[in-house]
């Protein structure tokens, strides 16, 4: 019986916290009457997934904050990655013991908001310790909008984000007589074909995440989410943007101009020169430099455009949990303000060597840094065209499973791009019926 018990216990443990959720569901919506100043000593917990080289930067941020607010103690809790942080947050909310403030992706927050686990930051933004109009407008709009819900409430503020750009092997491009990275899909397709010789396939496509596809989809003028949070039928249409973007990729695979990879292995392929073009966020920059190890020059360029110029914006936002005491919430808000201040975001962007500052004013202070870090400069320049991650309740399953399966089905020749997207639409409608919108 050990087999039985051990196997099921994992699934059943899920339910142990389930009953607690019932209690959690009854949490009151947080009150707006938070204290207006910090008096006594307050301890707050900050959960994030900033491991490895990022951890010292977070520590430096916390130390700088402690100097400004000696009566606040920030306890840093680092989780290995977002796949671990998400269930950890969920379990903590269900158990009624969430952190004071945490990094999170917007689609997760939709579930947290519906269970009243998150504080609407609009309350703090408009409060006495809030942000002035000038400060608010100093945030990059595409980043700030990612933390705003359709009812206009700002639940999250941007922290560690980066935008998709193209990394390319400049040395190989020059050897093939290509002087500039292509700016259109047609140019991109033709150059990739030209570069794909001797068994080498120029463009590395990773099948695990959907975000590289999303950037192409946005360039084709697509929006998967309709105005009321429902799946947008036009996006999936046979002559629609999803089919168009998927057809481009399928043609590249069929003509040996693209190689299919998994996860971060695409970085390795790019680093060892097996592929020459990699779509990734600027956060990948230090790793790619390390992988290339000086064997070739890495170039960066904005995404090649189709109907429009666009890119996808991804990363972590900051949210404050309603279980915290009013004093903790206020301390957390001060901490959030610091992390996203010009000073805080410059520190983060420069020392993380890949993420972007969240404020426009930071760019002026980073001039010399950006000239030495072209990936971040390229991504910053593309921010005006960047689209933040969508966040209706059905988005997680759609982007991680339904859309990935549609892409896989077309690229692996199980279905045509049109049939794959038609099926994806049928599935996402079912998913929406089950989970709702916001």
């Amino acid at each position: 019986m050990h087999t039985t018990t051990r196997t099921l216990s994992g699934a059943m443990a899920l339910v142990a916290v389930g009953s607690l959720l019932l209690a959690g569901c009854g949490q009151a919506t947080p009150k707006a009457s938070a204290p207006t100043s910090l008096k006594g000593p307050v301890t707050i917990t900050f959960w994030n997934e900033m491991t490895g080289p990022y951890q010292p930067v977070v520590t430096a941020e916390i130390n700088a904050f402690h100097k400004l607010h000696p009566n606040v103690t920030v306890q840093d809790v680092v989780v290995s990655n977002d796949a671990a942080l998400r269930p950890k947050l969920f379990s903590a909310i269900v158990a009624g013991d969430p952190p004071t403030v945490s990094e999170m992706n917007p689609p997760w927050a939709t579930g947290f908001i519906s269970s009243h686990a998150l504080v609407p930051l609009s309350t703090f933004i408009r409060g006495p310790q809030g942000l002035s109009s000038a400060q608010l407008h100093d945030f990059y709009p595409s980043m700030l909008n990612g933390g705003k819900w359709p009812d206009g409430t700002q639940y999250l503020v941007p922290f560690n984000l980066s935008a998709n750009i193209m990394f390319y092997n400049k040395t190989a491009f020059q050897a093939a007589g290509i002087t500039h990275f292509p700016t259109t899909w047609t140019g991109f397709y033709n150059d990739a074909l030209k570069l794909s010789t001797n068994g080498r396939k120029a463009f590395a496509i990773t099948l695990v995440h959907s975000y590289p596809f999303l950037a192409f989809f946005y360039e084709a003028g697509g929006h998967f989410v309709g105005p009321k949070g429902q799946p947008n039928a036009a996006a999936f249409a046979p002559n629609g943007p999803a089919v168009k973007a998927l057809t481009l990729w399928t043609n590249m695979v069929d003509h040996n101009a693209a190689v299919l990879t998994s996860g971060y292995a695409s970085d390795t392929l790019f680093g060892n020169g097996s592929s020459l073009i990699l779509e990734a966020t600027s956060a990948a920059s230090p790793y790619l430099k390390q992988a290339a190890a000086g064997r070739f020059t890495i170039g960066t360029a904005p995404m090649p455009s189709d109907l429009t110029s666009a890119t996808a914006l991804f990363g972590g936002y900051l949210g404050i949990f309603s279980k915290a005491t009013p004093a903790q919430q206020l301390a957390a808000w001060e901490f959030v303000k610091f992390l996203t201040s010009t000073q805080g975001t410059v520190l983060w962007a420069e020392h993380s060597q890949g993420y972007l500052p969240v404020r426009k004013s930071a760019k002026d202070l980073m001039t010399s840094y950006l000239s030495a870090h072209p990936a971040q400069a390229t991504a910053l320049a593309a921010l005006s065209d960047a689209k933040p991650e969508d966040k209706p309740a059905w988005w997680s399953q759609f982007s991680n499973q339904i859309l990935i399966n549609a892409i896989d089905a077309a690229l692996l020749h199980k279905m045509s791009p049109a049939a794959a997207m038609h099926q994806a639409y049928q599935q996402v409608i079912q998913e929406q019926a089950q989970t709702g919108d916001y």
Binding site: R6, A11, L14, L207, S262, S274, L412
Partner: protein
């Protein structure tokens, strides 16, 4: 009369002692196993997504699961995964154990090398294998190219090879441990039996078939049970190598339970899948014990 009374008191005291030893374990078992089990069964009858209150749904979540092609695909994947890892892995381990049981030079080194994968962090070894499986430039393709075979296969990116690739990794990972179990099992086989058979003119195969193999059957049963448990609990290598893809080709029932619950927050269907997994595993376990009663030689 006093003697009987004393004996009764002694028995009572012993009973209290036994209870004191057992109760802590029972409390832990109750909280962390029995209670979740019961709650899991109950909540599998509710439609429940994160952020929503659970709503009584009867068998609806089960109907949703059973009508999902991904569930059946995951069940098939789980069975194929188990057959591959347990079947091939066990056979390989027996062969290796028989070789390493001989007096050969450097067998200590071989045993150590064989066991290294098992003590490596699974996340790290999975990542290494992701590189090994890279199309064209990975170690596997390079080796195939060396022997003149086409070496540009997307091992974990296509629906044909992804599951075998996961099976191969899992066998590599668990082979050292399984071999070690068989090596331990071989020490219980009396060498006199083999020597007697040798005098009677039995061939090496006959000695294995008629003596070693039957006497290894308790170890084999243990290995099969332990490896089956391992297969049904497998998660890390699937998460690292394929995330259940492509097109669900490597999604096992355990991975489906995780994905449904912690990626998509569909607790109702996740729990229903968990209960169905329970039934499948209970059936397999019962079958294993049934077979063990009839076919296992305990040397009695």
């Amino acid at each position: 009369m006093t003697l009987i009374k004393d004996r009764h008191t002694l028995q009572t005291l012993n009973g209290v002692k036994v209870a004191l030893f057992i109760i802590p374990a029972l409390i832990v078992l109750g909280i962390f196993w029995v209670l979740p089990l019961i709650m899991g069964l109950i909540f599998s009858l509710f439609h429940w997504n994160f952020g929503q209150n659970p709503v009584w749904a009867g068998w609806h979540e089960y109907q949703l699961v059973i009508s999902s092609s991904l569930f059946w695909q995951s069940l098939l994947n789980t069975i194929l995964f188990a057959l591959g890892v347990v079947g091939v892995g066990t056979a390989l381990a027996i062969v290796l154990a028989l070789i390493l049981y001989q007096e050969i030079a450097g067998k200590g080194l071989f045993r150590t090398l064989l066991f290294i994968p098992y003590v490596m962090p699974l996340v790290a070894s999975s990542t290494i294998w992701l590189w090994i499986y890279q199309p064209g430039v990975g170690l596997l393709d390079r080796m195939l190219q060396l022997v003149g075979l086409p070496g540009s296969t997307s091992w974990v990116q296509n629906t044909t090879w992804a599951l075998p690739a996961i099976i191969l990794f899992t066998i590599w990972y668990s082979l050292g441990f399984t071999t070690l179990l068989f090596l331990a099992g071989l020490t219980t086989v009396s060498p006199e039996l083999g020597e007697a058979a040798l005098i009677d003119g039995a061939s090496p195969w006959m000695r294995f078939r008629r003596i070693t193999w039957p006497l290894l059957s308790p170890t084999t049963l243990f290995v099969i049970i332990v490896n089956t448990i391992g297969v049904f609990q497998s998660f890390t290598q699937i998460f690292e190598l394929t995330r259940g893809g492509p097109l669900g080709a490597t999604t096992t029932l355990t991975y489906l339970v995780y994905e449904d619950a912690f990626q998509y927050f569909h607790f109702g269907t996740s729990l229903a899948t968990g209960v169905l997994l329970f039934i499948v595993v209970a059936g397999i376990t019962a079958l294993q014990f049934l077979v063990s009663r009839r076919a296992i030689n305990y040397g009695d």
